[in-house]
Amino acid sequence: MRASVFQTAVAASATFLLFYPVLQIVLLSFNKLPYFRIGGDFVPTLEAFQWVLSQPDFWRGLLNSLIVSSLTVVIVVALALPGAYAFSRYKFRGRDSLLSFYVVFTQVAGGLGIAGLIALFGIVSALGLRNNLVALALIYAAGGIPYHTWLMKTYMDTIPRSAEEAAFVDGASTNTVLLRVVLPMMMPAIAVTSILSFIGAWGELIMANLFLSGENRTLILWIYSLLSNVYSVQWNRFAAAALLYAIPPVALYVALQRFLRRGLAFIY
C-alpha cells in the first residue's frame, strides 16, 4: 500500500491540534507579552524565566521538592528491595496471599487514597507530624511499597539464582552476596522504582497542600498558588514557572523509556 496524502494530512492536523495546548504554553513562556493575539505576535525573550528564577519562593519550593522526592526514593528502595528479595528467593507461609494483596491494592489505590485522607490528616496531626518533610516522604513511600515490592520481585524472578549460589559456595557472607551480586543485577529495576517514586512525589499536590505550610511548601504548591491568583500573575511568567517545574519529571520520564526497553516492559 502506498502512502496517502489525505490520511497523512489528517494525522498531522490531529497531532498538531492535540499538541497545541503544550506548544502554546512553551511559546508563551518565551514571549515578551503575557498573551498572544490570533495570528501571533511572538517576540522571543527570556524575561519570564528570569522573573521565575528571581523568586525566592521558587528556590525554596525547589529545594523542598528535591528533599521530599529524594527521601521518598531512598525510603521506597530501602524497604521494597529487601521485601522483593524475600518474596522472590524464599518460600514461607502467607507469601502468596500477601503478594496478591499487594497486587490487588495496587489496582484500587487511587480512589481509596482520597477516602483515607481524612483519617490520615487526623493521624498525622495527632502525632504532631504536620509540616514535616520527612513525615510526608514516609507517607509517599508507604503508598508505593506494594507496587514497587511487586515490581522488583517480578524483575528479580528473571535473574537466575546461579550467581548467588556460586558466591555462597565460594564462602561469601550473606551481606557480601547481597551487596556485590544481587544489588548490581537489580540496578535496572531500582532505577525504574526510583524514577517512578520521584515523579510521584514531585507531582503530589493534595497531601502536600494539606500538610505543608510556610517555609516547607514544595514547588508544586507554589505553582498551585500562582494558578489560584492567575489574574495577578502574567501568563508568560506563569507558563515559564510551570515549565521549569516540569523539567525533572519529564526528563526522568524520557530516561524511563530506556529502561522499559531493557526488559522491564512488564510494568505496564
Binding site: P21, I38, F92, I114, G122, I145, V230, P249, V254
Partner: protein, 307 residues
C-alpha cells in the same frame, strides 16, 4: 524467620500510613468529627487543650442518614448524578478520539508516524499541573484562543470557562478527554501491531472494501482491548478530582463525588469530617462495586491474563 524480617518494615509502613487510615476513615464516618473535636491534639499537648477538644463522639448512622435522606442528600445526589453524566460523556469522547488517532497511527498510509506518536503521548508524560496550566490558558476568558476564536467568529460575549459552573464542567470533559486519549491510542496501536499484513492484503485482493476491512478485520481485533481500556478509563472518570480541584474548586466541588467529599472535610468552613468520611466511604464503595461489576460483565480479567 528471616524473610519476614525483610518484608515487615515495608509492610508496617504501608499498613500504618495507607491501610489504617482507610479503616479509620470508615470509623470517622460513624462519628460527629468536625472542626471543634478533630484532629485530636497530640499526646504531649497540654491537659487544658486535651480537655477543650474531647475526641469525636460515636453517632451511629447519622451521617449516612444525612447524605441519603437528610440535609446533605440533595447535594450528594447532585454530585452523584453529575459524576455519572461525566462518565457517560467523557468515556465515549476519550474512546472516540483515542481510537481515531490510534487507527491513524497504525495506518500504513500515514507518513512520519513515529514523530507524530512522540508528540501524541506528551499528555501522558507531562505533570498534571502543567497540563492544567496549559488548558487554563486555552480557556482563559480574556486571552485564551478559544474565546479569541469565538470573538473572531462574532460571538460578542464568549463564556467564562473558569467561573461559570456549566462551562467549567464542559471544560473538564475536554481536558479529561485530552488526558486519556494517549492511553486509548496506545491500546489500539498495540492491538493492531500484531496483525499480519497478509490478512489485509488478502482481504483487499478478495475485493473487500475499506468499510468491510474495518468492520471484519480491524474492529474484531481491537474490540476486546478497547472494552478493557473503556472500563479502566471509566473508573478514572468516576474518580475525577484533581483537575477540578486545580481548575476552580469553588465552582466544581459539587459535581464530582470525590470532590464533594473533599469539600466537606477541607473546603467547607465547618469542616464536617464525619459527614465527609461518610460521603467518601459511600463513593469508594460505589467505585469498587462498579469496577467489580465491569470486570464481571466484560470478562475483563480473563482477557487480561490471556494476552
Amino acid at each position: 524467620m528471616r524473610p519476614l524480617w525483610l518484608i515487615l518494615p515495608g509492610l508496617f509502613l504501608f499498613l500504618f500510613f495507607n491501610l489504617w487510615p482507610i479503616v479509620y476513615s470508615v470509623y470517622i464516618s460513624f462519628t460527629d468529627a468536625n472542626i471543634r473535636n478533630f484532629p485530636t491534639p497530640p499526646p504531649w499537648a497540654p491537659e487544658e487543650l486535651k480537655q477543650a477538644r474531647p475526641p469525636p463522639d460515636y453517632v451511629g448512622l447519622k451521617n449516612y442518614v444525612s447524605i441519603f435522606a437528610g440535609p446533605a442528600a440533595s447535594g450528594f445526589f447532585n454530585a452523584f448524578l453529575w459524576t455519572l453524566i461525566f462518565v457517560a460523556v467523557s468515556v465515549p469522547a476519550k474512546v472516540a478520539v483515542g481510537t481515531l488517532v490510534g487507527l491513524l497511527m497504525s495506518s500504513e498510509k500515514v507518513l512520519g508516524k513515529s514523530i507524530m506518536r512522540a508528540f501524541l503521548v506528551v499528555p501522558w508524560a507531562l505533570p498534571l499541573i502543567l497540563s492544567v496550566v496549559a488548558w487554563r490558558y486555552v480557556f482563559d476568558p480574556a486571552f485564551g484562543p478559544v474565546n479569541q476564536l469565538l470573538r473572531y467568529f462574532g460571538v460578542g460575549n464568549p463564556p467564562d470557562w473558569i467561573v461559570n459552573k456549566d462551562y467549567a464542567y464542559a471544560a473538564m470533559v475536554v481536558i479529561e478527554t485530552w488526558l486519556a486519549y494517549p492511553f486509548i491510542m496506545t491500546v489500539v496501536i498495540g492491538a493492531l501491531a500484531n496483525v499480519p499484513r497478509a490478512a489485509y492484503e488478502a482481504a483487499y485482493i478478495d475485493g473487500a472494501g475499506r468499510w468491510d476491512i474495518f468492520t471484519k478485520i480491524t474492529l474484531p481485533l481491537i474490540k476486546r482491548p478497547l472494552i478493557y481500556a473503556s472500563v479502566m478509563t471509566a473508573a478514572a472518570s468516576l474518580q475525577f478530582f484533581l483537575v477540578a480541584f486545580l481548575w476552580n474548586f469553588i465552582q466544581l466541588y459539587d459535581r464530582f463525588i470525590l470532590a464533594y467529599g473533599y469539600y466537606w472535610a477541607f473546603g467547607s468552613p465547618f469542616r464536617e469530617y464525619g459527614l465527609a468520611a461518610a460521603v467518601l466511604t459511600v463513593s469508594a464503595l460505589f467505585i469498587s462495586v462498579f469496577m467489580l461489576a465491569a470486570i464481571r460483565l466484560t470478562g475483563l480479567l480473563k482477557g487480561a491474563y490471556e494476552s
